[in-house]
């Protein structure tokens, strides 16, 4: 049995757990704990502290594992561990919380430094009224036009599939460039 993995990362409350939950064939193995910080508690009640874990069985010989990283900065020691051997990674960003954009950029750069693997950026919560336009987000995040910034709704399977497929297309493209 061969296994490959992808990592879903991003700031606190960007929708990583929901993203994995939408597409995983098993219930996401989540390590959530109640939030103690007052500011963060206003955003949600529980957060991932070690990782989220989802699975997609491709065929009898191949399984894809999806790992979600903890979003809070104090658990960033998990990031490098989770990024080992990843096929690629997805940076989730809450389109309606511009105050997290800077952190998202920092997480993106940190992961780029861990491994030269392909990645895409998912502009999540595009269904929310306050969501920023994708192109405005690209400017705010100072993302190179070559980097895929994809509109996303993490609770919507079709949207999640589209992000995963775009990442896989990027992997194929980089393999061709490398060859």
């Amino acid at each position: 049995m061969q296994t490959v993995k992808m990592v879903v990362t991003g700031p606190f409350s960007s929708g990583k757990t929901e993203f994995i939950g939408s597409v995983s064939e098993i219930d996401v193995v989540a390590t959530e704990r109640k939030i103690s910080g007052a500011g963060e508690k206003e955003v949600k009640d529980a957060t991932t502290v070690a990782m989220d874990f989802g699975r997609i069985t491709v065929d009898e010989d191949l399984v894809l594992y999806l790992f979600g990283t903890p979003g809070q900065k104090r658990f960033d020691f998990m990031w490098e561990i989770l990024s080992e051997g990843m096929l690629g990674f997805i940076v989730m960003i809450d389109s309606a919380r511009p105050e997290t954009f800077r952190e998202a950029r920092s997480i993106l750069q940190t992961f780029r430094a861990y491994a030269p693997t392909p990645y895409v950026v998912a502009a999540n919560k595009q269904d929310v009224d306050d969501a920023w336009e994708v192109e405005d987000m690209r400017n705010a995040l100072r993302l190179d036009p070559k980097i895929k910034l994809l509109p996303c709704v993490a609770t919507d399977l079709k949207s999640v599939k589209s992000v995963l497929l775009e990442l896989l297309y990027s992997i194929l493209a980089e393999m061709d460039t490398g060859a």
Binding site: I56, V58, G85, R102, S106, R112, D144, K161, T177, G178
Partner: protein
């Protein structure tokens, strides 16, 4: 209890705060990645500070503080090299070159500078030697630590912000693809020009820092400023790009790797 540990767990600002609150007397020795610093305190006040290989003699500090000309400094080294700092201070005052206040203010400025440098140290081990003071022939001062602690806290916040903006120095820089931007019209400092002159995707930020002799915080500060101005962007170092991580596939065979990705695409497409 012995006061020792790692700067990762206990910052220089926190150490100064502790010395201040406990009115400690002794010397804080910090072993950084490249050099060692010794900072002495008397009753919780800064008394003396020196970083490793620096010549911490009074003559050298006065020369660096522009209180002695190069000729005067050379003459002192030749004729009075064996004279202690206290004796030299007295000689300069008696000869009317400098006042006692001049000397003390220059020393205070120099010691403050050493402590400011220490605020940028984030790696290293420290230990506090109780009751150890600088040698008797050295001139010590009495400086309150509160202002330095406030300054250090500010610098720490800046450091944290810069680290968030530029988490890795192992990335390269490139000029932004903005047709309107022209470096000639931008007022850059000498340090910024030095960094700019090395910007190419071939050079990692860490290499630029090494070449321009800048520490982590200095290079991050300059790079951050140039990024904010929209002049440069962070990029993968040249040569790294198409190299995919070796361990990302369970097989090294490229055909199998492609087949694996295609199977993933088919499977996800069919969910």
């Amino acid at each position: 209890m012995a006061l020792n540990g790692n700067l990762r767990d206990f910052t220089v600002t926190q150490l100064l705060n502790l010395v201040n609150l406990a009115s400690k007397t002794g010397t804080l020795v910090i072993e950084g990645p490249n050099e060692t610093a010794e900072v002495s305190f008397r009753g919780g006040k800064l008394a003396y500070a020196m970083i490793g290989r620096e010549n911490g003699s009074l003559a050298s500090i006065l020369h660096q503080g522009k209180r002695l000309s190069a000729n005067q400094y050379r003459a002192i080294q030749q004729r009075a090299g064996h004279v202690s700092d206290k004796e030299l201070g007295l000689m300069l005052i008696n000869a009317g070159y400098l006042s006692q206040e001049d000397i003390l203010l220059t020393l205070q400025k120099s010691f403050r500078g050493v402590v400011r440098d220490l605020f940028t140290w984030v790696e290293g081990f420290f230990h506090f030697e109780n009751n150890k003071l600088p040698p008797d022939d050295k001139i010590s001062v009495r400086l309150d630590l509160e202002n330095l602690i406030i300054e250090g806290s500010r610098q720490l916040r800046e450091w944290e912000q810069l680290q968030e903006e530029i988490p890795s120095l192992e990335m390269a820089l490139k000029f932004a693809d903005r047709p309107g931007a022209d470096l000639k019209n931008v007022n850059l400092s000498v340090e910024e020009w030095r960094v700019v002159s090395y910007i190419t995707p071939k050079n990692k930020i860490s290499q630029i820092a090494k070449t321009t002799k800048m520490d982590d915080i200095e290079i991050r500060r300059i790079v951050y400023g140039l990024i904010q101005a929209g002049l440069i962007e962070i990029t993968q170092p040249e040569g790294v790009k198409p190299k995919l991580a070796k361990d990302m596939f369970p097989t090294q065979d490229v055909k199998e790797q492609k087949s694996l990705v295609n199977r993933l695409i088919n499977r996800i497409g069919s969910i």
